[in-house]
Structures are given as structure tokens and as C-alpha cells.
Amino acid sequence: MFRVRDDEPGYAFIPEVQAPEKNRYGKPIELVDADDALAGKSLNINGDVGIGANPNRYKQHGFYFNADHCISCHACESACSEKNNLSPHLAFRSVGYVEGGTYPDYHRLNISMACNHCDDPVCLKGCPTRAYTKFAEYGAVLQDPDICFGCGYCTWVCPYNAPQLDPVAGQVEKCNMCVDRLEVGLKPACASACLAGALDFGIIETAPNNRDQLEHTIPGFPDPNISQPNIRFQQTKSLPREMTRADTVPLRYERDEQGQGAFKTRVRESGRSREWNLKKLRSREDPLVVFTLISQGVIGAFLALFLGPLFGLQVLAPASHPVAYPTLLFALLGLETFALALSTMHLGKPHRFYRAFNNLRYSPVSREVAGIAIFYNLLGAYTVLTAFPGLFGWLPAELLTGLQAFFGWGAVVAGPLALYFMYAIYRIPARPFWNHWQVLSAFFGNMLTLGSLTVGVSYALVLASQGESYASLMWALAWPVTFGLLLEAVGLYFHARDMARQGGEGEASHFEQRTTFGKTYAARNLGLLAGLPAVIGLAGLGVDGWTGFTAWAIVATLIVATAAVGRALFYALVIPTTMPGAFFWRNRGFQEHARETGLAHMPQVGVVPDGH
């Protein structure tokens, strides 16, 4: 057990208070009864089999933050980092701020935030490895780095930036509520360290002594409905109508014209000009740009190959080109292998890749990986059966055909289903720029476009070299290509419209899209729009031969490049609903600057140099 000192000051102990039975979301605060199977168990902290004597062990606990008092002295963050032995680049708790007013009527509102040990822990549900557990003890949501494989998906879904992906250790770690201290009745290290009467801790829905409010939000705090966080606030002092952030995220918070009502998140339209910023397109998610595009292309290509003959494209039947057909299948298989390898290497701990399937019940990541894996295996089986029927001569012919059909049709179903789960990954309320149906239209659009183009261009090459015409094939394949392009374009149109309308982080991302990446964005849109007439034109003209092939190759390159830039933008632009940062700490702009200038190479700057 954690050792309580003889001279431990009174403020460090969790006070004994009367708590209501249910929290504001109607959930019981007493998480399990004393006779429940989950009760009376040791937390097994560092091998200690003891059971804490805290009388409220099974009640949901949470932080209490009095924004009226916080002075941004960093004591809470530091006490946390000291206790958890964290390197400077990591922090389970961070203090950021918003500010407003005009000198000397200036107001700064500091916000200290860690994990809120939510009632509906989106991290837990999202984690493919089941590294998270919501404990009956204190309602603590704890994450086990020994299970984690470092995909970072929890860091995407958490609205509060609580889970910390450590790029050095290749794993996520987060606030553990100091359950070791709770077991002996002490508040967590951060709350005990507070020097301003701001951060406190106790049974949820109870206010500390001398505090009046039990609000569930303050300016800058994400929508509590996303995860039902266990944190309560006080903020009674008058604030200016508009509050801004010190970090580079182009957001501000604004009340209605009378300065009343809740603060709404709005875009801070600074006079930024339209830039290319191609370098900034690169990110940690680069492997995902490649992985998603290739997977979509491969699935689309297989659909075109497999379904083509059914639509009368006999040229695509295996028998029509007994060499080209399996070669293309193997190429697709190779491409997908490469993509899977990339996405695995993108993990912090690639050797734990097999844990991706651990959470099929809740995690879209698990489902996506399962879907892709099933498709990949079916594609592999189909390819082998199709390429080397001789190997299976011992099988009855009907069974062989049946198996081919089974694997083929299986892949036809599994592929798009995998892409659906791939899309579900990005429907994250904490990432409004992604949380839109456009992701689905883009993924399926890309599947159609890239897949059909891959098949078309490959066969055009084969047919051209044999001196045969491929114009009719291209004419047929131009339909899905065009449809895919249209699907993506329409999705993007509505996405841009909805982001601009919805305000908040989504609009801020879109603002960045129009400014920081303004020229890149325009080029992508132009590329997309130019692709349509080009494809229709070439197909309509029925170009053929090497000249035609060259034209098709140019158009295909344009379309692929456009898709790649679009996907890179998709990852680079997202602005999570996280809490405001400070001017240096938790400021993405400063982190980028530190990496560019080499300041990040000094470990005491607290920014990890880029590895990609």
C-alpha cells in the first residue's frame, strides 16, 4: 500500500461527503454492490495483493476544477510527472488557457486537464487491443501499456487529449487516477499539489468545501455528451464575450451578442494567406495515407476484375488472358501486402500486431483490421486457386470452381465491408473534420476510381503490347471511374459546406484547408475536376494504341496524385476537440517550429524530433 506520512496534511485526504445515488447522466455513482463479483478484489498494484481500506472504493470519483482560482503554476502537471516519472515530452495532465478582454480589463482562464475517467470511455471502446479497463474501483479508466501496441487510436477518439502516445517508447500511457493513493484515502498527486485552490478530487457530483458550482463544462471544454466525463467545474467570474487561444489552433470562443449564454467554438479568422505548405502534408500518419489508398485501390481492382465478366467484359475473364489475369492478381496481393506491412510498421510496437483483433465487440479498428485480413486471405486463396489450377488437379473440378467462386465472392463482400469499417474508424465525435459521411464517399469513391483505373491501365498495357484494342474495355471501366470521382467530389462539396456551417473545430480545419493549405487544396480540387472530363473524354474518343495508353497513363497519374494529396490533407488538417494549449506547451505550432529549427533536439525543450 502507498505509505501515508505521519505528517500528511489534511488537504491531501479525500473528504468524507454525502454523494447522490445517481450522476447527472442517470447512472449510479456506486458502481458495484459490496457483494458483487467485482468487489473486494485487490488492484494488484505493483504486485501488492492488499485491498485498500477507502470506504468509497466502489464509487465513481472524479476531478473538480475551479477555473476561478487556477493560476497556471504547473504544480499539478509537475506533481503528476514527478510521481509517474515522465519524460519532458510526455504529460498526463496539462494546463492550457484561453484569454480575452482589453488591457487592463484582461481575463485569462487557465484550464488544467487530464483523464476524466469517463462513464462512456471512448478510448476503451476504440482500443483494438483492449488495453483499457474501467474499474469498479473508483470508476478509474486505466490503460495497460503492456497490452497496448501503440496504434494511437485512443488518442484520436479521446476529446481531452488524455491518452499520450509516446513516440519514443512506442506506446500509449495515461493518467492512472493515482489509484495507489486512493486506496489509502489520499487525493491524486495533482490535486494534492494544487497551489491555488483550483484542482480538487472526490466522489463525482460532490463539490469541495467552499465551492458552489457543479458545472459539467467551461469555455474551451469539448461536448460532454461525447463521453460523459467525470469532471466538474466552477467558473463564476465574469468573462469577456470572446476568448481566444494562445496556441496556433485557429479557434475562439464566443458568447451571444449580449455576452450571455454558453461559449460557442468559432473560427479565429486571422489574415492568413493561401499557401502550399507541401512539407506540412507529411505527418506521422503518412503510412495511413498509403495504406488506405492502396487498400481501396486493391479492393476496387479486385471488384472490377471479378465482376467485370459478369457485366459482359469478357476480356477480364481469367481464361481470356491466362497470364495477365493472375499476374495482376499477384500484383494486387503484393500491393496489399506492402500496405499492410506499412500500417503494421506504423504501430509503436509492430510485433504486437496480432492484438489488433482483441476488441471486435467495440473497436472499429479491430473490425477494419479483421475485414482487411479476411479480404486479404480470400484474395490470396482466390489468386492461388486461379493462378495454379494445376496444383489442385486432385480436387474434383466442380469443387475447385466452387471454391474459386466462394473465395472470389467472399472477397467481393469482405472488401467493401472492410472499407466500411475503415470509414467507421474516422467517425470520431472528437475529430469533427473527419466525423462526416464524406469519408465514406471518399473511400468508396477511391475504391471505384483507383480500382477500375488500375485494372484498365494494366489491361491497356497488355492489350496494346499485343496490338489489340482496349477502347471498349476503357469505355466500360470509365463508368466506375467517373462515378467514383463524382462520388468523391460530391462528398467533398457537402463536407466543405457542412464544416463551414457547423463551426468549431470542423470549421477551423476547413479554414486551415483554405489558408495554410489553400493552394494545395485548390490544386487537389482542380485535379479532381480535371479528372472527370479527362476520363470521359479519353473513353469517349476511344483512344487506343500506345498514344492512347500514354494519355491514359497521364490521366491515371493525375488522379492518383490527386487522391494522395487529398488523403494527406485529410490527415494533416484534422483539429481535435482537445483543450486549449499554452503558448509553448501543447502548442502544435510551436512543436512544429521546434522540429523545423532543431530546438527539438534538446530534450529539455520537451518536443520529440520527428522520426518520419
Partner: protein, 726 residues
């Protein structure tokens, strides 16, 4: 609503394996927090925690204290003495004997050629009291230079001077417990939440129980100002006008404490005549605080049953810093707010042992608040040390800020710098560089060999830091607290005490004198020398100090414990036992913004850094909160100049230029910028630092600059990074 694994894995929480906790006192600021340093089984210091039963901090620490154990292994500590012929030669490693012999012979050579005072010693507020005393013994009793001072001239000199002028002696009369009793707190130029967060917490704890007015005077909207009931955004450099005007209103409206003034003060008539000129209407035009507010504050303060004033560098670092302190004392004397619970003039001190150096280092006189000017004091100390009293000068020599100009003009040829970093801390860096180049011999004694001043040294002596040694600090409320030795000094570095004692052996006179080997042995001398004096230590011992988590002097022999307040009986240290009310005419000699240099340049501290960052710049968990210098600038002013948030801008003053990152905020007025003072090659490239006539403290916070956006941001970032080697 519970999710996750049914069969739960064991929970792992970082366990540093602490097997032993050792008692220390924080070595950063002067709050004086008690810290326990945790040692693991291998004897490594791995954790820090506030001592629960310590009255000062009651278990709390600020972030610097929380990571203090990391100092022992921080980068670029000095491990062996270094030497070179010329400052541009490479250093070579030498033995301690070689280094000390060299320093000893150079001191004697310089003193032999140019006179005793041609060698100067500049020390610090960072080392232990026992070390200060020993250094004083060495400098005054052995080396015999009168040009011996500490860097406290840059921070507390004005408070010392002001206390002496008003009360006849240095020594803050109040304590933190005054928060419990006061009915009005006036904070002038003090940003407690940032500079002294644990003292702020003590105040907050009281405010949780009892509400009383907090009035903050600061040109910047600090967190303290924002939290105050009244914030007075004063025009820089005009505090004295405000103080005189507050006194004006109090006297004019008959709110003064007649009885107290009559019984305990001198000089009332002249004082009243002077403040009569500072009516609020006139004063408001100068200090920028409207007349109604001045009257309101004066009435609130005077009518409070007990009222106290705290201040820090906003008062001290000014051309009238000493006058500002006297002005505060005047205010508290006329309202009878000295020596009573909740009534005080409490200077909030900067360095961990600024008080220790004031008491015992002999910088400004002789140990134990003795004066060189007093024959009896000279004889006292001379006989105690066993030397000829005539060896002492009869008048105090130069202050730190006058020592450097004397190097510039050649009167001083050799300098010993101990645990301070004038290359970063002094105003007008360009001038300091030129000055240091002039030295025939410079020895730098510091825990870090990358301390910037080392660039100009001929000998570098690596010293142990903080709990690598043992000894006492005195905090802001006169509390003497102990640091036990936790780990041995880094590498072959040595405790400062050892260095001083060994240095004494290089001199004939030093070999004849007694230099106790242990800090506790030195402490015994302090007890003897303080017996019966205002700062009586005679009732203290190391064990008793540790047991009581610090003892406030005076603590007379046989007393159970110390004394929370001075002057409770109304008896002051001036010869007649009375305090002085001193008239303070205001002369505005600051470099004010003008057409060419239109901005006030203000400087100050941030909570994550300490002084010139030699320590905090290496602790990642501190440094990350401000890893490079920045400037707070008003967005309206910036817009007019095309200066952008997050970009680099160039500031120019009549001294030089600096490049900083811009943080736009309405926290500062449109005609002022604020830059933290911690960074090398930054704010002090710009500062003027006119000296206070009494305390010789520089006016760090008052000068004028112009600002321009930097077109080549790339080059600016390279320049910025080059200056941030830690």
C-alpha cells in the same frame, strides 16, 4: 457501465524505490519550503516532496521544488577545476591544488601591484549561510578587499536599504502568518502566483476562510492582478508618487494612527510637509491611477484593523527602489502597521539565501548586521577572528553594480565570481562583456561549467550545489532552515565552504585563523556572534532547526522557538529606538518611451524558471514551459507594426538589440512589452539599469525600446536557437 477485461492485469504505477528521505530546504527562491529528498537503494536522489509538517509550505511545493532532485545529475555540471592563460585559450583540467594556488597567487599579485581593493569578490544569494560567513571571513579578514559584494544588489538591495533607513536595521518585520490576521493586503510590484507560488497558496488558504481586500499594483495584468479585488495598473516607475499620495490622503483625512506616530517615529513634520504636495489629483496625472481610486485605497488601507504591504522587484528594481521601500514603511508607520499581527512591510525576497548573505556575508559590513562604520563592531569581529581591527576598512566599499564600472575603468583588475552569472543577469550585456574582457584575472566558482560568465574566466572552480552540501538558509520571514547533505558533490566538485577554507590557507593571515571544517562548526560561530543581537541565533541548533522545520530569528539561548515578528514593542534599531518617517521627493529620471523608442520594456520572472536558467534550463519538465525567450506584446500595438503572434521580432534600445518570439496578449498595455529576464542574450542586451542612489540596485524594469518585425524569420530562429544551448 463497467467495461474491459474481466480478468484484470496487475496495475503498474511508477515506483521510484525510495528507501530514505532526507531533510532539506529548497535552494531556489526565498519562500523557504522544506523538502524531503528521496534516495533509492542505490543512494540516488530520485524524488522530492514537500514536508507535511513544515509551517512554511505544509506539504506543498512549486514545480521547481518538485523536480529539485534532478539538479544533482543535470547536464554540464562542473566536475574538475579548469584553467587557462588567456580567456581565448582552451581550458585544461587541473588539480584543486593547482587551481587554488593559482587563484591565491593571482590575488596576491594583483593586490601587490595595484592595491588591496584592486581584487574584487562578487558572490550570490544561493549558497549556505555558513558559506557566506566563511567567504566574508576570507574576503574581509584574509584577502582584505573592500570591493566585495553579492548579486543581492540586483534583487534585494533596495529592501535592505529601505529597512535600514526606516527602522535602523535590515530584517523583514513580518511573516506569512500575517495573512491570517490582516484585513487588507497591498501588493506592489509583486506577482506572487508566478514568483512565490507557495506563499500565494498560504494567502489563498486564508482567503478560503476569510475575505479581505487584495489590492495589486502592477502595470501588467498578472494572475495576481486578475485575482485582486482592485488592480491598479500603474505607470512604470511612479510607485513612489502613489505611495506619497496614499499617505497624503491618510493624513489629509485624519486616518493616521496618531498614537503610534507619536510614540514610535521621528520626522513626522517634514514627512507631512512633503506628502502635502502629492494630492491625488496631481498624483493621478503622474502615476496613472485615478484620484478616486487613490483615495479609496488609502481609506481602505488606513481603516483596516491591520493592513500589510508586500512587494518584490516591482519596487526594488527601480531608480527609487530604496525610496519605494521607505515609502511603504512610511505608509505602515503612519497607520501603525508594523510589528503587529497582520500589519507589516514584508519584502518578498528572491533568492533562497538572500537573507543569509544580508545577515552574515560581510558584503555590506561585518557579520551579524554589524557595520564597518562602527568601531565597536570592527573590534568585536577582529577579536573574534583573531586579526587586527585596523585591517578592516572603516567604510563599506563598492556595490556589485559599482564594481563592474570600476573594472571598466581599470581600478579593479581581478575578480572572483561565486554562484552568479552577470553575463546574463546584469543590465547592458554588451557593456558587461567589455568589462569582463578588461580583467587580468577572473575566477568563476559555480556548480555549472556552462554558466555564461565562464566564457571570460581564467580559472573555473566547480562547486557542489544545494544538498550536495550542508547548511542553513534564511527565508523571507527570517526563518533559518536547514539543508542536510543528501548526496556527495558531483564528480570532483567541492562544497563552497571547503573552497573558501582551502583558499584561506593560501594566505599567511588565513593560515593563522580558524576556519571550522564542518558547516555545523561554522554555525557555532554564528550562534556566538549573534548572541544578544537582533538576529539572535543562539537558541538554535541543527537538530532543533530540523525538528521545528525552521526557526525564525531572533531565537535567544534557552528559548523554545523563534519569533514571528520584529518591532512588536515599537522599539526600532535607530540609536533613539524610533523609526524614521522620511520625506521622499519624486524625481523622474527613467528612460521613458519617446518617439524613437516608443515602448516601455518591462521584465520579470516566470514560474518555471529561476534566475539565469543555469539550473532550470536543464530540467526538461520545467524548461518545456518556456524553452525560448518570448515577449508579451499588446495585439493592437503589434497590428500597427505588422508584428505577428508566434513570429520573431527584433527589439532595439539605446544599448543593443534582441530577437524574441512574440506572444500577443492584452495582459500588457499598448505602450509596453514584457520579457522574462531568465534568458541569456536577451532582455539584458536592451536594459539600461540606472542605479538607485541608496541601494545601487539597477532599474531593470524601466527603459525604452522600439520593435520591428523580422523579415528573415529563418535567420531569427537560427540566432534564437544558437543562444539556447540549455
Amino acid at each position: 457501465m463497467l467495461f474491459g477485461r474481466k480478468k484484470k492485469n496487475p496495475i503498474k504505477i511508477a515506483d521510484k524505490g525510495v528507501v530514505d528521505w532526507k531533510y532539506t530546504t529548497c535552494g531556489y527562491c526565498s519562500t523557504g519550503c522544506s523538502i524531503e529528498v528521496g534516495l533509492d537503494a542505490g543512494g540516488q536522489a530520485v524524488a522530492s516532496r514537500g514536508v507535511g509538517g513544515a509551517d512554511v509550505n505544509r506539504g506543498k511545493l512549486c514545480l521547481k521544488g518538485i523536480f529539485e532532485h534532478e539538479l544533482f545529475t543535470s547536464s554540464n555540471r562542473g566536475s574538475v577545476p579548469l584553467m587557462r592563460e588567456k580567456r581565448y585559450d582552451p581550458f585544461r583540467e587541473v588539480s584543486w591544488d593547482q587551481a587554488l594556488d593559482k587563484v591565491g597567487s593571482e590575488i596576491q599579485r594583483i593586490q601587490g601591484s595595484y592595491g588591496r581593493d584592486a581584487f574584487a569578490v562578487v558572490s550570490t544569494g544561493q549558497i549556505m549561510t555558513e558559506e557566506f560567513y566563511t567567504l566574508g571571513k576570507l574576503a574581509r579578514g584574509v584577502i582584505g578587499t573592500n570591493n566585495y559584494d553579492g548579486n543581492t544588489t540586483l534583487c534585494m538591495s533596495s529592501a535592505v536599504s529601505g529597512y535600514k533607513r526606516s527602522f535602523g536595521s535590515d530584517g523583514p518585520p513580518g511573516c506569512y502568518d500575517d495573512f491570517e490576521h490582516t484585513e487588507c493586503l497591498l501588493a506592489i510590484g509583486s506577482n506572487l502566483p508566478e514568483q512565490h507560488p507557495v506563499i500565494f497558496w498560504r494567502l489563498r488558504e486564508v482567503l478560503e476562510k476569510r475575505k479581505f481586500p487584495i489590492i495589486v499594483v502592477d502595470p501588467r495584468v498578472t494572475m495576481f492582478a486578475q485575482m485582486a479585488d482592485m488592480h491598479l495598473p500603474i505607470t512604470p516607475g511612479t510607485d513612489l508618487v502613489l505611495l506619497n499620495s496614499l499617505a497624503h490622503v491618510i493624513l489629509d483625512e485624519g486616518l493616521e494612527d496618531h498614537g503610534y506616530i507619536e510614540a514610535n517615529t521621528n520626522g513626522y513634520e517634514d514627512f507631512a510637509k512633503l506628502v502635502a504636495q502629492y494630492d491625488p489629483t496631481t498624483a493621478s496625472k503622474i502615476c496613472g491611477i485615478d484620484e478616486d481610486t487613490i483615495r479609496n485605497v488609502a481609506r481602505t488601507y488606513a481603516r483596516a484593523g491591520a493592513a500589510m504591504t508586500i512587494w518584490t522587484m516591482g519596487i526594488n528594481q527601480s531608480t527609487h527602489g530604496s525610496d519605494g521601500v521607505v515609502g511603504i514603511n512610511n505608509l505602515n508607520l503612519i497607520t501603525g502597521n508594523i510589528g503587529k499581527p497582520g500589519g507589516s512591510s514584508l519584502s518578498i525576497t528572491g533568492q533562497s539565501n538572500a537573507m543569509g548573505t544580508r545577515e552574515w556575508s560581510s558584503c555590506s559590513g561585518l557579520p551579524g548586521y554589524r557595520a564597518l562604520e562602527s568601531e565597536a563592531d570592527r573590534e568585536d569581529i577582529a577579536s573574534f577572528w583573531g586579526i587586527d581591527p585596523e585591517f578592516f576598512p572603516k567604510k563599506r566599499g563598492l556595490f556589485q553594480t559599482d564594481i563592474f564600472p570600476a573594472i571598466e575603468t581599470g581600478q579593479i583588475k581581478g575578480l572572483w565570481i561565486i554562484a552568479t552569472n552577470p553575463m546574463t543577469s546584469m543590465t547592458n550585456t554588451a557593456r558587461i562583456r567589455k568589462t569582463l574582457e578588461n580583467l587580468e584575472f577572473l575566477v568563476v566558482q559555480d556548480a555549472y561549467q556552462d554558466v555564461e560568465t565562464n566564457e571570460y574566466s581564467h580559472v573555473y572552480l566547480p562547486a557542489g550545489l544545494w544538498a550536495e552540501k550542508e547548511g542553513c538558509f534564511t527565508n523571507t520571514e527570517r526563518r533559518v532552515n536547514l539543508t542536510r547533505n543528501v548526496v556527495p558533490p558531483y564528480g570532483d566538485s567541492k562544497p563552497d565552504l571547503w573552497i573558501f577554507s582551502e583558499m584561506a590557507k593560501r594566505f599567511e593571515q588565513g593560515r593563522k585563523m580558524r576556519f571550522p571544517e564542518t558547516a555545523e562548526g561554522v554555525f557555532e560561530e554564528l550562534r556566538q556572534l549573534s548572541k544578544g543581537r537582533m538576529l539572535d541565533y543562539s537558541g538554535m541548533s541543527y537538530d532543533k532547526i530540523e525538528q521545528q522545520r525552521g526557526i525564525q530569528w531572533p531565537c535567544t539561548e534557552g528559548a523554545q522557538t523563534g519569533t514571528p515578528r520584529l518591532y512588536v514593542d515599537g522599539k526600532f534599531q535607530h540609536a533613539d529606538g524610533k523609526a524614521k518617517l522620511i520625506p521622499l521627493p519624486f524625481v523622474d529620471n527613467n528612460e521613458r518611451p519617446d518617439e524613437e523608442y516608443p515602448f516601455w520594456l518591462n521584465s520579470g520572472r516566470v514560474v518555471e524558471h529561476f534566475h539565469t536558467r543555469t539550473r532550470t534550463g536543464k530540467i526538461g519538465n520545467l524548461n518545456k514551459f518556456s524553452p525560448t525567450p518570448y515577449m508579451e506584446m499588446n495585439p493592437d500595438a503589434a497590428r500597427a507594426l505588422g508584428v505577428v503572434h508566434g513570429s520573431y521580432a527584433r527589439l532595439t534600445s539605446r544599448r543593443g538589440d534582441a530577437v524574441v518570439m512574440v506572444q500577443l496578449t492584452q495582459r500588457v498595455p499598448p505602450n509596453m512589452v514584457f520579457i522574462p529576464f531568465h534568458f541569456h542574450e536577451c532582455v539584458n542586451r536592451l536594459t539600461l539599469g540606472l542605479l538607485d542612489p541608496h541601494s545601487r540596485q539597477p532599474a531593470f524594469k524601466h527603459c525604452a525600446v522600439k520593435i520591428e518585425p523580422v523579415a528573415d524569420q529563418q535567420a531569427a530562429s537560427v540566432r534564437n536557437k544558437a543562444a539556447r544551448t540549455y
